[in-house]
Symmetry: none
Subunit: 132 residues, 4 copies
């Protein structure tokens, strides 16, 4: 079952949190291609946020090719993951990997701990995909 929530204290913009959660549900296989997402007004109501916030989040996700807004019909998960080369993937993921490495050193962490955490999070996603 999908469930969205906004943490107003985190400093992360509400629309960004929503985007991350949609991506998370897709990555974990809980949301699949063709599945319907809550309507803008419905989600705005249940989350208690301004509809404009949902509009922004859905708009950005559509721009990234993650979802499709079909006028009058609803919001749906796109049919397929965007195709890209490994080089492109590295380009996207490297800054995040680097930030993780730097923050880890800064926190006095070992490399092992970092690898363990990433492995864990990858594992969680794989496990959920298996269950569906």
């Amino acid at each position: 079952m999908i469930h969205f929530q906004i943490n107003t204290q985190s400093g992360v913009p509400a629309y960004r949190q929503l985007m991350d959660q949609v991506k998370y549900y897709i990555a974990s296989g809980i949301l699949r291609a063709g599945d319907r997402l809550p309507s803008i007004r419905e989600l705005a109501h249940t989350l208690g946020v301004n509809p404009a916030t949902i509009v922004k989040a859905y708009g950005e996700l559509q721009h990234e090719g993650v979802i499709e807004l079909q006028h009058g019909r609803g919001v749906f998960v796109s049919e397929s993951a965007p195709r890209m080369t490994d080089a492109k993937r590295r380009e996207i993921l490297r800054p995040l990997a680097r930030q993780l490495a730097v923050e880890a050193m800064q926190a006095g962490s070992s490399g092992e701990l970092v690898m363990e955490l990433v492995e864990e999070e990858l594992g969680k996603l794989r496990k959920k995909r298996g269950e569906e």
Copy 2:
């Protein structure tokens, strides 16, 4: 040799970029405890930004315990990495690890690619620390 630069196109606030670069130099061992950082005015001049921007970046880093601003003397790298438990480190690093995992899935990447990237970035930092 340390060298800072600001990318005004990236959308990331200048003060945030500066913070990341200082942390990077410390994580890679290029800057060590007690080392002096460029003065506010000096750095503002070389980067071509307003001194207030440097003040904000340095101020935040001071809050995080990374550097110390000493009135009339200058800016210095703090003596030691903040002491924290492994549980605390996980708490800080897990969201980053999770975001990396989700973005990787979203990009259609394999788990292997992610692990490889993190290993690479950790390796780069370790290598630089070794060289110093």
Copy 3:
């Protein structure tokens, strides 16, 4: 009713005075968790100071966990007092207690006078909390 004011003669920075006053209103129960504080622009206008000064005061209070700045929504008193151990409280309060004791001796004051003053100020806060 809350009312802020800045004394430009005191030598204490305006942003520091504001921080103290916000803390005072919370300590006395006049401001409670979830209450909204004046917006940055509004407060800057009523106090006749630059918005950046309010930004600094509110920013520091946010760092201390006293208030939350919510983008596009406003500024709010944080939900709960920070949890800390008695040992941590002593660590924070002891320097202030010590300074008070030393200043008292220096002023030729009796210990009784000091205890009386502290008791009085604690009582005032408790009284206000009771009234709300």
Copy 4:
């Protein structure tokens, strides 16, 4: 035996720390009227700080009537504590007492803890005075 030290991380100006320490030694009876303090150049050398810092601290203390700088002879603790009325003492001490009370509430402390800390610090000073 008197011993001064400066903490460069505390954020408190060095000259202020020195002033506080001189007052502390007098309040605790370790320094008495007529006792000689280290010379400016001597103290600057042992503390590793700029002589101007000592000049500022001693100057302020002289201004407050705590010490006397006798040209060519040295620096001495003043003969007597400044005489002031109880009303004046309250006026000086109340802001400190109030700040202590507010910070205590903010830290979620009980009134008992605060009173205990003040009592303790007063006791320490009295005990030292007794020993001398």
